[in-house]
Amino acid sequence: MISSDQTDWTGLDEVQFRFRDDTMVDHPAVTVDSFVDQSNAAAVRLEPGDNARDLLPHLDRLALVEVNFPAFTDGRGYSAARILREAGYTGELRAVGDVLIDQLAYMRRCGFDSFAADRPLDEADAKAAFARWPYVYQPAADTQSASSEEPSHGGVPIWTLRHGRS
């Protein structure tokens, strides 16, 4: 736990929800600047002002990208996540910081597969949030092979379901 006299609030290092079954990276994420210089780092943290595309030449050595949401109202991390998934990144994509229940489903759709919020989230509320949407209107990073058993019908957009794919 973080002691209250620390001035730097670095948040809990506890991943509360994870939708992967591979082993978690065991070293801390470094900044984008550090990562680019260090050849042995496999984990990087993106701040809202960073350009996710700076990581594109290095995706093959990345196992974990943390995307920081210092305030839940700052939505740049959603674009960063989708950009990485669109580029073919298949490693862990973790939302950290001011992550709240009501953003979980959107984050998941943008490609996040693990969550380490500053403040622990109610497990029941989170489970309900992840399962909230029966369908989705538009494609995002979760769009994959259709399955009505996957959350949100596998992220396949409604307009695709309407015209032949089910």
Binding site: P48, F72, T73, D74, G75, R76, Y78, S79, R82, E86, L100, I101, D102, Q103, A105, Y106, M107, R109, C110, D122, D125, A128, R132, W133, P134, Y135, V136, Y137, Q138, P139, A140, P157, I158, W159, T160, L161, R162, H163
Partner: protein
Amino acid sequence: MYKYDQYDQAMVDARVEEFRDQTRRRLEGKLTEDQFKPLRLMNGLYLQLHAYMLRVAVPYGTLDSRQMHALADIADKYDRGYGHFTTRQNIQYNWIKLEDAPDILADLAKVEMHAIQTSGNCIRNISSDQFAGAAADEVTDPRPYAELLRQWSSFHPEFVALPRKFKIAVIASETDRAAMKLHDIGIRIVRNDVGELGAQFYVGGGMGRTPMIAPLIRDFVPLDQLITYSEACLRVYNRYGRRDNKFKARIKILVHEMGADEYRRQVDEEFAHLLGQGIEPPFAELERIRTYFEDPAFKDRLSDTVDRSDPDFALWVDRNCHAHKQAGYVSATISLKPVGGIPGDASAAQMHLMAELAREYSFDECRVTHAQNIVLPHVEKARLYALWQVLEENGLGTANLDQVGDIIACPGLDYCSLANARSIPLAQKISQRFAANGKGDTLGELKLKISGCINACGHHHAGHIGILGVDRKGRENYQLLLGGSEAEDTSLGKITGPGFDEDGVVDAVEKAADIYLARREDGERFLDTYRRIGMEPFKEALYGQA
């Protein structure tokens, strides 16, 4: 008009349950107000001066009688018997309880309505031309495109926390009846040289503190790339829009600061990338939506003449009836601006009546206009007199469309926690003044718009005459602007000079009207005379010789 299928219904139902759950968690203390506020805003629920206010979406301003009846029922059941139609074609209720809000959303969902994304830093209600599907001058009905954009933007996971609100308007005619260039994105559907339909994209317009007219960013986006291009525009904004200052966070500031050329370049880059991602809907989806917007069963060979023997009726026909593409029909505007009335307000009884009139006279369809009136889009000329008589009996027959009495006014300091001054009493006084002095009938087209604060929900920058309420040392004060236009000749009004108190600004408006009456030539409107003679003659009249 569009009808939900089981997917649309499942989504609004899920949204209702989501909000019910969020409200429960707020009332239990699991969510602070700071955490809850963006969530309730994304369901249209504000905390205003007197109570919560709920803004219900009317997608591109279109609704049927069942929906209008439901809006009236909500006014009676949950509010205080009336609603307010807004400058974005929505409806607002002013006396809502938070504990009722989930049930209201559930009632709305039963009639295929919602309050999704009518506030908050997300993509808002998509507005359109109130005469869509009826006007003779449109290349196609713009509403299928608005509906496609509505679905694409609903619960879009990447754009759920934009730097600020995002407003899109879609039109399909040269004439701009939706203030298109004063939106974050304004889309005009056009035909190219070989007859293909595509979209012009104007990006970076807006009013508020720093009004701007949107530059043309792309002159032809093929229809089968509409969503991909829109997504590119939004992604660049989400990534690079300013987040350091709430008053500089709209896309107009981004486009202005980086320059339209650079914004265009970045959008083009993102667009090229996204085209490779295959995010566009199948074209069959647009075709499916279009089937809901086919012409109703117009009668052929209807009489194109109107019996004008009743002069009051003839005046209403001349002023409030707009030419229709089908011979024998008009689009009729029901004025919600009776002399001395509250602009845009309608009682539950009036809403029920308008619902019935829509069903009876207009193929069960009506429209909310951004000028806060209601349109019956397809009325047989032969039936106009009967319609007008009912409107007259119920205070809905004022023949003032686009005249000085057809005032656009935000709710202002009587209702809104953002306001600096009251706008409604001012609108009432102005409409009464011009009814009393008889000049209202001779002024012709004069679009007067009043905002109670710089947020400009009354669109005062785009008024031929605009009025902005300010706080001057704790007292209400009003600035006068001249020469704005929301139409395709878009322009922003200029301030005349020092502000006035409430009575002073009513006099000022009359003085400005008098200058116009004295100086107009050859069928000029107020706006034309102002543009020809400039500000000086008005300044002299208002403030005396320099």
